[in-house]
């Protein structure tokens, strides 16, 4: 019961704030709505008993990416600015395409009946996740973990290099 309430609450929040994110004309508000979407998603994970994922979602998305986005908004736009909306034609066509896609996907999903494996209630603990992250056995993820580490390092260096201000020659 309580779980259902939570689910519908979070679901409603996700959908509402998603729509607001892509429709508001104030850029920083869009970022805040995005933050709410992400936090609601984290709540969804909490209610699924996946605490670790929820904490990751909060740390990386809410604490990292959204802060980054807000920073860049602070750097590139002003409070009084309003976002330019796309021309009506573009909006209509995009909406049509999106609706068509959503309909198609929903039809496909709802036609298929998933059989949930309700027999087990997983007692995931963080040690298992940690162990399989660095294990190289069949169910180990050491290689993806390393690959992602290298990717992050490369992205970090790349971002610094790209964003660095080129030193201008002194006249």
């Amino acid at each position: 019961m309580l779980n259902e309430v939570m689910f519908y609450l979070f679901g409603a929040m996700i959908l509402t704030f998603s729509v607001l994110t892509v429709t508001t004309r104030r850029i920083l508000r869009a970022a805040v709505y995005l933050l709410f979407v992400l936090i609601s998603t984290a709540g969804l994970y909490f209610s699924l008993n996946y605490n670790f994922l929820a904490a990751v979602q909060l740390t990386v998305y809410a604490g990292g990416i959204v802060v980054l986005i807000i920073f860049s908004i602070l750097l590139t736009s002003h409070l009084s600015e309003r976002a330019v909306m796309a021309p009506l034609k573009q909006s209509i066509f995009s909406a049509l395409a999106t609706l068509a896609g959503a309909t198609l996907t929903l039809m496909t999903i709802l036609r298929f009946s998933f059989v949930p494996n309700t027999g087990v209630d997983p007692q995931l603990n963080i040690t298992d996740i940690g162990n399989s992250m660095v294990s190289y056995n069949r169910d180990g993820y050491a290689l993806p973990f390393e690959v992602i580490s290298v990717l992050l390092l490369a992205a970090m260096i790349g971002a610094i290099v790209v964003a660095k201000k080129e030193r201008k020659l002194k006249e």
Binding site: G11, V22, L53, Y61, M85, S132, I148, M156, K165
Partner: protein, 105 residues
């Protein structure tokens, strides 16, 4: 505790989120808001992974790790994208996507 909520509900939410993200990507003119739309898309995919993991294979961790990898990729992508956006702003004095079409033919 999960019996009362069917898996497809999660999928419906994520589907809507996904297409809302796509709509945003196609209509927002500001590069940063386009980036935010992409984050929405990625997040909807994550919900799918987690829900499938929880409902269909609760004793395995594949969904977990896919989600972690998607998040890491999203973080990397956001960092690089914002670096690029700031550079674009520096050069064009604007981050409107319509102004950034120097790379055409």
């Amino acid at each position: 505790m999960i019996q009362n909520i069917p898996l497809s509900y999660y999928l419906v939410i994520s589907t809507f989120m996904f297409f809302i993200g796509i709509y945003g990507f196609l209509t927002r003119r500001n590069l940063i808001t386009m980036l935010m739309s992409i984050e929405l898309i990625l997040n909807s995919v994550n919900i799918n992974f987690v829900a499938f993991n929880r409902y269909l294979y609760p004793q395995q961790l594949q969904g977990h790790f896919f989600m972690l990898i998607v998040i890491a990729v999203a973080a990397a992508e956001a960092a690089v994208a914002i670096a690029i956006i700031i550079n674009i702003y520096r050069n064009f004095k604007s981050i409107d996507v319509e102004n950034v079409d120097e790379m055409k033919y």
